[in-house]
Amino acid sequence: MTTQTLEPGKPPELWHYGAEAHDVIAAKTLGFWLYMLSDALIFAGIFAAYGVLDHSMNTAGGPGEAQIVHPIAAFWQTIAVLTSVFAYSVATVALKHNYRQLVVLGILAAMLFGAIFLALEMLDFADLFAHGATPQVSGFLSAYFLLIATHGLHMAFGMLWLFVMLIQVIRFGLTTPVVAQLLNLRLFWQFQAAIWVCVYVFVYLKGAI
């Protein structure tokens, strides 16, 4: 009940007048961090499934991980995705200095290296398919392809988003909504690189040992 007494000589403030403090970028950034949390849990679930099915019992006579992973080939994918993130970081630094041409250039470079990453992944898949290692062969291969493809799908959506932002930067300039989106895209793009590092360690490196 103590909260309901009034301090003497100090009338309480009852209404809040003045400009409404709406920080658009802060709310959108928080919302996007929360979305990334749910995305992280999707990957957590898929990694867990991979962990369960990555067992000789689950290969059903098909190839195991040592036979299908190529850590050297995947190393070039790692370089591509990290370079793409670096290019986008350059765009973010340019954003800070309001240097629009460099933002456009950074996004273009990020798209280029993202495309190289996806192309390498498709070559890898095509090679495995050619050798008869398809997702339908065994529980292990199902988990392997789903994990890699889910990450690849995220990369593809990231590419689409990069393209949309390229147009928005050119059309609207560096306005508040565009900047809010660019910052969220940075989070998304770097997160995909972080996931790829996990994939590289848990699938390619662990598999090759």
Binding site: P12, E13, D23, L34, S142
Partner: protein, 689 residues
């Protein structure tokens, strides 16, 4: 790439053929006539009074959190009625199909439902009640009340809020479509594996179940993001964390659970989808699949989902009990701590749904102890409510009756839950109707809290109270039904009746089954009484006191603004000084109305969310029947609409100080005051900026 399917297939209609429509089934015919009459009763007045433009302008395209909440609750109540009807059919089948001499009707050997039809009914009963009734109603209540309780003007992302609503509605619509086009899953609401695999369930039923849940859970995840961002960034000045109303706290904790658990359900179902559509082997019985992977993933979502539902119910009780005891809530801090303790432990108990998996004594012991640990914070909550009631000035208005009923059910459900937490007992009663009776007590806590909340906050949204007399009849009739059905069911569980039986072999069960049937009769009567309560209340709405604080003793911020609440919530943002702000202002004779007004900014209505919803339905229906052109076009459509929306810049409008003053002194009539009429009529000062 896609799996090879048995049966006819065409490019235009996929697997869908005329034979998929069960027009010759008497029960489906009845359901169709019933649904058609109900639809006619809704559509005819809309057409007669030419309200389609109004409906489209004010409701279908709205981004107002209160209207979205109301629509969530309407979807939830409609689905709850459908789910109840399934329950009625299950009970009637069991009482008719007891013993080898029980008669068979229609196409059934015993009772009136053949096994596959009965299986569809219990599967849809569970799926609907958990995911399409309880979840949307609680989400809707959170949508309406949370921004009001924290003194916000809307949610953090109003358009995304509407998208969440329409995705949930699409899920519900897919379930309803499965009634008349094709069939529904026969594998229970949990999707018993490997029964859900294509080899054992080749029809589109499992696909309906899977995609309905998948699409609506995207909506729930988006809503969770929205609620968390709203509570963190949109609180009124002075609304410190230690002043947040308990319902807002519980909605926050529930949204954290939703945000972190629904993605796991998404994964569990996506892997099942890969098995069914691409022929992979995640959960198949052979070729390196792992059945228990599904069961674990499902319950890693499934158990948090239970607390996702029950925590807002606890929040509702924490709001209703102090109002009708006329005392501040006892133990605010412990209540918040208990809420987050329950939310945290919810992640560590999933395995108690399948102790019989045989993971061994060490694993089972851990999950047993973790499950029992839930009792500690829950006990803290119960004692807090009791101490709030202790020496309070208790009045038994209808919301308080429902709250009191919920406490008794929590006791029954909680104590049987403690029994089930002990693996030795659990092995004995696993898959018996004892378990069914236990979790129905728990979900009825949620239902009781929902009715308490609907009746308690109804005047806040619509400006008049629901009729107390018929409301009390409704309560007692519903409670009698609850007691009869579930007391008998606990007994049947100990007598050895297992779950999901379309035929019962033991005639000794018959008396208890009859008691259950009488109970379900009272439930049916209470459905009619609910309708009668709405009818009487709407008829007598002028008499039912449209005042700001209809209960005369409300405590929290949502009652500071007018009832029915205007579309902008608060004309001037309130400054919060204490936990029970309204009681504080009453006791100290402080102003509850601002003396002057300033311009405010509001989000503009948009048809984008309902377009996304329509496309999501196209996606869900297309992929269920494997109509690939429809699936692909809908998915591309959704992506295109989202990109188009990202180019929109003029998404809000201003209301000037004069307009605000006019609105506050001559409030427009009608339900939760029409929002967009200002931008349509030359009232001055309004419109685009």
């Amino acid at each position: 790439m896609f799996v090879h399917l048995q049966g006819p297939y065409s490019f235009l209609f996929g697997r869908l053929t005329l034979a998929a429509i069960p027009y010759n089934n008497a029960i489906i015919q009845f359901a169709f006539v019933f649904a058609a009459i109900a639809a006619l009763l809704v559509v005819a007045p809309v057409l007669y009074y030419r309200k389609i433009p109004y409906l489209f302008r004010e409701w279908l395209t709205t981004v107002d959190h209160k209207k979205i909440g109301v629509m969530y609750i309407i979807v939830g109540l409609v689905m709850m009625f459908r789910g109840f009807f399934d329950g009625l059919m299950i009970r009637t089948q069991q009482v008719m199909a007891d013993g080898p001499h029980s008669a068979g009707h229609l196409e059934a050997a015993h009772g009136y439902l053949p096994p596959s039809h009965f299986d569809q009914i219990y599967s849809s009963h569970g799926t609907i009640m958990i995911i399409f009734a309880a979840t949307p109603i609680l989400t809707g209540l959170g949508n309406i009340i949370v921004p009001l309780q924290i003194g916000a003007r809307d949610m953090a992302f109003p358009t995304m809020n509407a998208i969440s609503l329409w995705l949930t509605t699409v899920g519900a619509a897919l379930i309803m479509a499965s009634l008349f086009i094709g069939d529904f899953s026969t594998a229970g609401w949990v999707g018993l594996i490997p029964l859900t695999e294509l080899d054992f369930s080749p029809s589109a039923g499992v696909d309906y179940w899977m995609w309905a849940i998948q699409i609506s859970s995207v909506g729930t995840t988006l809503n969770a993001i929205n609620v968390i961002a709203t509570i963190i960034t949109m609180r009124a000045p002075g609304m410190r964390w230690d002043r947040l109303p308990i319902f807002t706290w519980t909605t926050l904790s529930t949204s954290i659970i939703g945000l972190t658990s629904f993605p796991i359900l998404g994964v569990a179902l996506a892997l099942l989808g890969a098995d069914r559509y691409l022929g992979t082997h995640f959960y198949t019985a052979g070729l390196g699949g792992n059945l228990m992977l599904y069961t674990n993933l499902f319950w890693i979502w499934g158990h948090p989902e239970v607390y996702f539902l029950v925590l807002p119910a606890f929040g509702i009780l924490s709001e209703v009990v102090p109002v009708f005891a006329e005392k501040p809530l006892f133990g605010y801090i412990t209540m918040v701590a208990a809420t987050f303790a329950i939310a945290g432990v919810s992640w560590l108990v999933w395995l108690h749904h399948f102790f019989t998996m045989g993971a061994g004594p060490k694993v089972n012991s851990f999950f047993s102890v973790a499950t029992m640990a839930v009792g500690i914070p829950t006990g803290v909550k119960v004692f807090n409510w009791l101490f709030t009631l202790y020496r309070g000035r208790i009045t038994f208005d209808t919301p308080m009756l429902w709250a009191a009923g919920a406490l008794f059910l929590l006791l029954a459900g909680g104590l049987t839950g403690m029994m089930l937490a002990i693996p030795a007992i659990n092995y004995m009663v696993h898959n018996s109707v004892f378990v069914v009776a236990h979790f129905h007590c728990m979900v009825l806590v949620i239902v009781y809290a929902i009715f308490a909340a609907v009746i308690f906050w109804f005047p806040k949204v619509f400006g008049f109270k629901l009729d107390e007399r018929s409301g009390k009849w409704f309560f007692w009739c519903f409670t009698l039904g609850t007691l009869l059905v579930f007391t008998a069911m606990f007994g049947l569980g100990f007598m050895g009746e297992t779950r999901r039986l379309d035929y019962l072999y033991d005639t000794d069960w018959f008396p208890a089954l009859e008691i259950e049937e009488i109970g379900i009769g009272f439930y049916s009567l209470s459905c009619l009484l609910f309708g009668w309560m709405l009818f009487v209340s709407i008829r007598d709405r002028a008499k039912l006191k449209p005042v700001n604080d209809p209960w005369g003793k409300a405590r929290t911020l949502e009652w500071l603004t007018r009832s029915p609440v205007p579309f902008y919530n608060f004309a001037v943002t309130p400054h919060v000084n204490t936990r029970d702000e309204l009681t504080f202002r009453y006791l100290n004779h402080l102003s509850t109305e601002p003396d002057h007004f300033e311009a405010i900014h509001m989000p503009r209505n948009t048809p984008i969310p309902i377009i996304i919803g329509a496309l999501a339905f196209g996606f869900g229906f297309g992929i269920t029947w494997r109509i690939w052109w429809m699936t692909g076009l809908s998915l591309l459509g959704i992506i295109a609409v989202v990109i188009y929306r990202s180019f929109a810049r003029d998404t809000g409008y201003h209301l000037s100080a004069e307009v605000m003053s006019q609105l506050e002194h001559e409030p427009p009539l009608g339900v939760i005051a029409e929002s967009q009429f200002l931008s349509k009529r030359p009232l001055g000062g309004a419109g685009a900026h």
